[in-house]
């Protein structure tokens, strides 16, 4: 289930289940969104991105969904594996605007074998 801890929200799933990580963004002008994965002891790694002219984009085992009406972004991970355990951050920005994205709070995904 999903819970809010002292710092980061946490999502716990069983290996093989599908995971859905949610992100609400704040700037209605944002039109470019990125998901990052940060494993323990490492820097954030780019997973997948989406521009606002799309509402869905698929990668390898990952899908990002964008709902501009409610300013909501989600990352779906299919057949979650223990190696998917990490903190996931969404980031938003205006394409062609400031080079600096705004990062979300992050969600900790824990995958139980």
């Amino acid at each position: 289930g999903e819970s809010v801890g002292l710092h980061l929200p946490t999502l716990s799933v069983q290996e093989g289940d599908n995971s859905i990580i949610n992100c609400a963004y704040s700037n209605s002008a944002s039109d470019y969104f990125i998901w990052y994965k940060q494993e323990s002891g490492k820097g954030p790694q780019f997973i997948i991105d989406i521009r606002s002219n799309m509402d869905k984009r698929q990668g390898q085992r990952v899908t990002v969904l964008l709902n501009k009406t409610v300013k909501h972004l989600s990352l779906q991970i299919a057949a979650t594996q223990p190696g998917d355990s990490a903190v996931y951050f969404c980031a938003e920005k205006v394409w062609g605007g400031s080079y600096i994205p705004t990062f979300g709070r992050g969600t900790s995904l824990i995958v139980h074998p």
Partner: protein
Amino acid sequence: SAVISQKPSRDICQRGTSLTIQCQVDSQVTMMFWYRQQPGQSLTLIATANQGSEATYESGFVIDKFPISRPNLTFSTLTVSNMSPEDSSIYLCSVKGQGRQETQYFGPGTRLLVL
């Protein structure tokens, strides 16, 4: 994507001392960024470092505390000066993707503990 390395990967320092963190990129990049990530938190931008000009600092960060060098297009340093335990954090170097790429890529981070 660029390959980014940082040194040191971690350090334990005494309060009042300073630590310089190095960031090396395997390709020439115009813009480099330094972030701080406190335990269990998201990323906070410290400054943007452009080659040939002074770094641009975000609100709450000043040059005296976090001096930055950017001597060429593949290298930058961030110094954490006169450290206190509140500076204990992960410090991340980041670069913008090449050309029209809008994505940022991150180094592995430097884990700093100040006693």
